[in-house]
Subunit: 289 residues, 2 copies
């Protein structure tokens, strides 16, 4: 029952967003061609319109930040990430989360980005930390630290918390403020290992109790391979927010997902007068009962 | 991220149930005429058939224990609680939770009950503790302790935990084993006070960390007066189970509620091979997607 004690501020073309302390912040996950062929195809043809539609729809549905991922095999991310960042910032004013495994693509994205971005992500791998911590600090960007390293994903919460410690101490040493660090405990599919989600939840509780930094995660992977994915994702989001996640990467256009995040925020006392909850039902009376 | 370290065993006419450590146990809430006029009317006419239908339907839907409440204004609970207990035990073999504010009704129910019952409930009020702790001990029953007293419901988690301490120490002094004590943190409507659920969740976390006893609660009150009640109840159940609730009183025939409990159990690592989750979807493919 801890939550972030630090506040991360992100800025977009026309809006700033505060993570921590206030409402749960949804980072919209839909600008991502992985597993979505029509987006991958459009991107390959240089057609950005489908991505921009996803941008507008997610902001309309309540995303306060948008993740931008251009991971299509064969596509040069160093060229395309900045191109998509510029196009998205021309149509929505929320902050962006620049998402690429390639540090040079993130650097190229930052060169055109207007505002204070979130970079997704470094891991505890020293080679990545060497490149990404200074990059975030120089650009005044915030940085996601994924709790894995060159040796893989630790199978226990203790193992992941050791990686958290490595990332937090490295940021401290290099002058990246802890408020600009956002940790990601790693979410694996429970279908493969029914203890996997419990490890993630224990990791979240440990991060919240020890560091007080903001915490993100990509929720939907948890339900891969099982029936009732939306219900499982919704319950996982509630559990994860209850342990300390403040800015999940999720699909706000999915009613069950959006409502689970809003419900958890309300039940944890972060929705005064239930304004967001009631407002969401007024705007979308067709949502699930 | 604590859960009960103690195990409570209940026994019905033909089945015993273990609470704590294993799967989350749903105590079915539907044998309760409060706010359900057709049940109240049937009971007033001495017609038990509608109650027995509720009993069978809840066991079919996955309730491992049934709450039995005969609170109809004008109805003598001392006479009717044992009558209904006998009738319900004749049709289902799960343990029962005898639910009445009248100690003499609980005593009368225990006289006919076959097995090891759960009594719902004492509070921290000394006059109630004087009557109910010995009653539970003499009958070898388990006892719910509701965290309120003659002064009302404390508005803070600390206040409720002081009442928990009073109940736990009283049980200890009178020889009621801590494994036979189940605490209820009290659930109030968030519509009246948007901090109310957060106080309940913090109380649950405190009980789990301090005493390791099993924890119950009546979830559905939390959403009273708000839109989207089923979604809110589902998220609250996930949050509450995440903090340490092991045997919620809920409606297992409501798919969103049953699935939230099953999802939380799976995600907390208490559903090996996802057997319960997958089984529920196989039996009820018509549930929500």
């Amino acid at each position: 029952m801890m939550s972030a004690r630090l506040v991360t501020i992100l800025e977009g073309a026309g809006r700033s967003v505060t993570i921590g302390g206030g409402p749960v912040v949804i980072i919209g996950e839909r600008i991502n061609p992985t597993g979505r062929r029509f987006l991958a195809r459009a991107l390959g043809e240089g057609n950005l319109e489908p991505l921009l539609r996803e941008a507008r729809a997610q902001v309309e549905a309540g995303a306060a930040v948008l993740d931008v991922n251009v991971g299509v095999p064969g596509l040069d991310q160093v060229e395309w990430l900045p191109r998509v960042v510029e196009a998205v910032q021309a149509v929505v004013d929320v902050p962006l989360c620049l998402d690429s495994p390639e540090p040079e693509a993130l650097a190229a994205g930052l060169r055109v980005y207007r505002g204070k971005a979130l970079l997704n992500s470094t891991t505890a791998d020293p080679a990545l930390l060497d490149r990404l911590v200074p990059l975030a600090r120089e650009h005044g960007a915030a940085l996601v630290g994924l709790l894995t390293d060159e040796g893989g994903i630790p199978g226990t919460a203790d193992g992941r918390l050791q990686l958290a410690d490595r990332i937090v101490r490295r940021a401290e040493r290099e002058g990246l403020p802890p408020s600009d660090l956002v940790l990601d405990p790693v979410v694996l599919a429970v279908a493969a290992d029914t203890g996997a989600a419990a490890v993630t939840l224990a990791t979240i509780a440990g991060i919240a109790a020890t560091y007080g930094v903001n915490i993100t995660l990509g929720a939907s992977n948890v339900s891969f391979g099982l029936p009732g994915r939306a219900e499982l994702n919704a319950a996982f989001l509630a559990l994860a927010i209850g342990q300390g996640v403040t800015c999940p990467i999720a699909d706000p256009t999915h009613p069950a997902v959006r409502r689970a995040v809003l419900a958890a925020g309300l039940l944890l006392g972060r929705d005064p007068y239930a304004r967001r909850w009631i407002g969401d039902h007024r705007r979308r009376p067709g949502g699930p009962a």
